[in-house]
Subunit: 297 residues, 4 copies
Amino acid sequence: MTANDVHYNKPAARFKLTRVGVSGVRKPIRVRRPGKEVVLTATIDLFVDLPATQKGSHMSRNVEVLEEAIDSASARDIGSLEEYAAGLAKSLLKRHEYATFSEAHIGADYFLDKAAPSGRKTTEVYRLTATARGRREGGRLVVKKTVGVEVTGMTTCPCAMEGVRELMRKRAPRAAKAMADVPMVTHNQRNVTTVRMEVPEGSDVEADDLIEMAEGALSSPTREILKRGDEAALVHAAHENPKFVEDVVRGILERIVERYKNLPDDAEVVVRSVSQESIHKHDAVAERATTLGELRK
Amino acid sequence: MTANDVHYNKPAARFKLTRVGVSGVRKPIRVRRPGKEVVLTATIDLFVDLPATQKGSHMSRNVEVLEEAIDSASARDIGSLEEYAAGLAKSLLKRHEYATFSEAHIGADYFLDKAAPSGRKTTEVYRLTATARGRREGGRLVVKKTVGVEVTGMTTCPCAMEGVRELMRKRAPRAAKAMADVPMVTHNQRNVTTVRMEVPEGSDVEADDLIEMAEGALSSPTREILKRGDEAALVHAAHENPKFVEDVVRGILERIVERYKNLPDDAEVVVRSVSQESIHKHDAVAERATTLGELRK
Amino acid sequence: MTANDVHYNKPAARFKLTRVGVSGVRKPIRVRRPGKEVVLTATIDLFVDLPATQKGSHMSRNVEVLEEAIDSASARDIGSLEEYAAGLAKSLLKRHEYATFSEAHIGADYFLDKAAPSGRKTTEVYRLTATARGRREGGRLVVKKTVGVEVTGMTTCPCAMEGVRELMRKRAPRAAKAMADVPMVTHNQRNVTTVRMEVPEGSDVEADDLIEMAEGALSSPTREILKRGDEAALVHAAHENPKFVEDVVRGILERIVERYKNLPDDAEVVVRSVSQESIHKHDAVAERATTLGELRK
Amino acid sequence: MTANDVHYNKPAARFKLTRVGVSGVRKPIRVRRPGKEVVLTATIDLFVDLPATQKGSHMSRNVEVLEEAIDSASARDIGSLEEYAAGLAKSLLKRHEYATFSEAHIGADYFLDKAAPSGRKTTEVYRLTATARGRREGGRLVVKKTVGVEVTGMTTCPCAMEGVRELMRKRAPRAAKAMADVPMVTHNQRNVTTVRMEVPEGSDVEADDLIEMAEGALSSPTREILKRGDEAALVHAAHENPKFVEDVVRGILERIVERYKNLPDDAEVVVRSVSQESIHKHDAVAERATTLGELRK
């Protein structure tokens, strides 16, 4: 027996495996975005399945596939992280001839120029994620891909606002009356909302749009630089727009249904919103994992 | 409108939600284990679903359910984390009358007395997880529960061991011959393996047994105190038992099939093994998510 | 040469080392608190220094020292984490005869029963830390110890509150007038504040007191269960007490100076407050690292 | 009183603060390295001190300073992270006229092309850190800066290797004899080593050199792609070069003393090595924090 045979040995215990691969590979990835080229510091996981008859997977092939994708000239023309992931999922199936399934996850911080209420420019950080799953269908390789965003923003609680209004009516009825149409104090907090959508071939799902939808559904987006006037304007606007995590998720679902009318019913959608409650030590969470078809009912 | 109505308002966007609740609640939990009572520092997530017709979930009820479970006299008699989780899943459905689904996750560090190769006692840390999912079935509440363990151990790579043997044959053929039956140097590393199993009513699935199976399937368990003799014995034994992550997962699956002959075919099993590769900056991963029935085929 | 000599070999490069030891050891620790006994899941680091003449430290002795401390009958009578740490620092110097310095860090989650504004009981999580540093002074072992707490609470921003008041004066002058004495909306957020104090022999510095000082200096403590009345009361009170992170640190320093009149001037104090800003993606931080003597000036 | 005055109010409690500022700001930073331009995803902390007479620090100025540094044309010519940090520390003192001290920390993942034993190219990830501390000296601003690297590599334990050799002598004396000059099996593991050095004005301290020194002092560097021949060669070489964490730290100190003969005696040096022990659940740590002068003695 040569050492080379180790991976092909029949395993003592004959079970197939759902996923075998590498996780936490870090690489710089260059992606062409509209009007610019961005360099992302990506964290990547790559998997294939393994039949019961084979002892081990050739894990070094996974990182080779990745390194080749990064070095290849054509990679320069890749316009999105999910295209990147799709290319990796295909190459994984080509290189692991025994595999029937492949999976590539990519995550990376991502920056966009945004505006404070005054219009002043600020650079904001988001997180992009992309997943692609490949399988063999007859002789063809079929890949399904998703794009995801993680957006940090702000929620103001509608329930505590009503509670404080009641309290004020008792304690300071005159002031309470004058404030009938004015937002009351409430707890607000940092919120992290994630949106993940399947990207059917030929569709126009864009990470930048998902970020905009998420920021629009929060009580307010947050901005890294807020001079005094901006700070007051943002805080006031957020209090005129109180939102539970439930509302944030539903607001995004509504925007998705409205925006992606041409996408098929079976396109998958996952939206999750987590408020790092300022009045508690724990977080509040809402989530919907479903398909576009379900949302259209 | 009273403030009290806020949660019952019809939501602007009418979508039901898959999960609404709290995450990251930390509580001390007392569990009776065979022959002892242990106090665990638990991290808990609690969710219910939310119908399209209701604006918000009463999140404070979730933590109340938890606090009551901890304070109630009967809680003192709870013998496992998964029983705890099942109780929480039931209470969640009772308190959230609008919910059709509930979910409780609990995670906690857990300590067991184990032995070094010499028999010397050492205290080892593991992580326990428990999940329970409740739903209404007619007028009844039905709960499905799982128990999980996270075990840190050691893997030694069979592939590099063969590679080094080949290398030795070329560089030092005489020594290589004398070493034909002796384990060769290879890379070894910290490995984190998780096992999660459904616990059907009346079954005897125990976290302590899953820990033992995982430790048995690794190249070697690790121990916090190893005097010199113990250290050499453990290292040598681990090299006589080289394992890919693939082998670790399959070894556990084999033990599960053998051990739980009386469990039903639809019982869910997830086994995942992650080696923090000493020769790479990334990890190696193998996973199987399936049912006992599939494994028995 | 016997294997036993490896640690005593002269190192190729002759440099002494500041710290050599183990980190991230997890153990259950039993501590007697006033009126109760608590079991903590502790994370422990243990170090000694190493002279230039010695190749390696006997690291297994560190964990042995720890295991013995946990098992010894006398450990049952230990009343605080910092006493525990002091015992470990002493034992480390006894067991590492070549060392001139030792250090023990312990961290653990810790729970206290607290009250919501209505008086309703809730269990709250905090983090305790303890550090002890030992050294030889003549034939004696001298140990200096500190106790620390990490408290999660809430800050409301005074600056944005003033900004919103100004904005209201322009947009809704009538309402603004009626609200002259009423707290305005502002951003508020989860805040994590840490206090660390030296504990001179015979002093009465107690973690529970430090927790109370920190909660008192925040805009408001947070509570895990808040029914509607409690929620409104807590939110309103927090807005009547707006605090920058700077104010939180100074408020705690003031309480420490007032409370610990009998402590010596050279007692070390570190206070740090971090607000997880709801309007930004980054945190705001204030810190003072000093001695009681400096604070008394 | 205008809202603008809030930050200048005299604080209720009059204590100066050591650090006030922002932490966790994420920005893309462009740095010119020899022969290339790299884009780093940086995490940044910025602080100034605060006199006892001033209520709050103008935190938004910190992020403005940062945004200006990134946008300014001259920033394009910045050749290192520590230069970047030094520029920030100076700007902080200019913008916070009340401050006597400023501090900037920057951390970022960083990639270098390296070679596997066969010469095959692989891209490896490291972490860069930079710190700059500014103070006023008469009318001048004086800045002290440091550069740091975090390198993930591999250590093989000399002590267990000797232990196994002893064990073999007893169990298989003939094989043991034949193996007298051959590396024995031992535990090996992922190791994370950090080096931080002061960078005096005009010195030639370079992050890339520190990375090379750290990789040279480990049992072996690790590489993301290792085909079978490379894997065996790397594993074998690492076993011919067993290292305690103590050895790694001393090996780097030795290289630093040798390499930086022209640096002043008061230049600060911190070296720390952490092995994620494959035979334990905890880590092994060695550290030296000192000055070049002390190391030269």
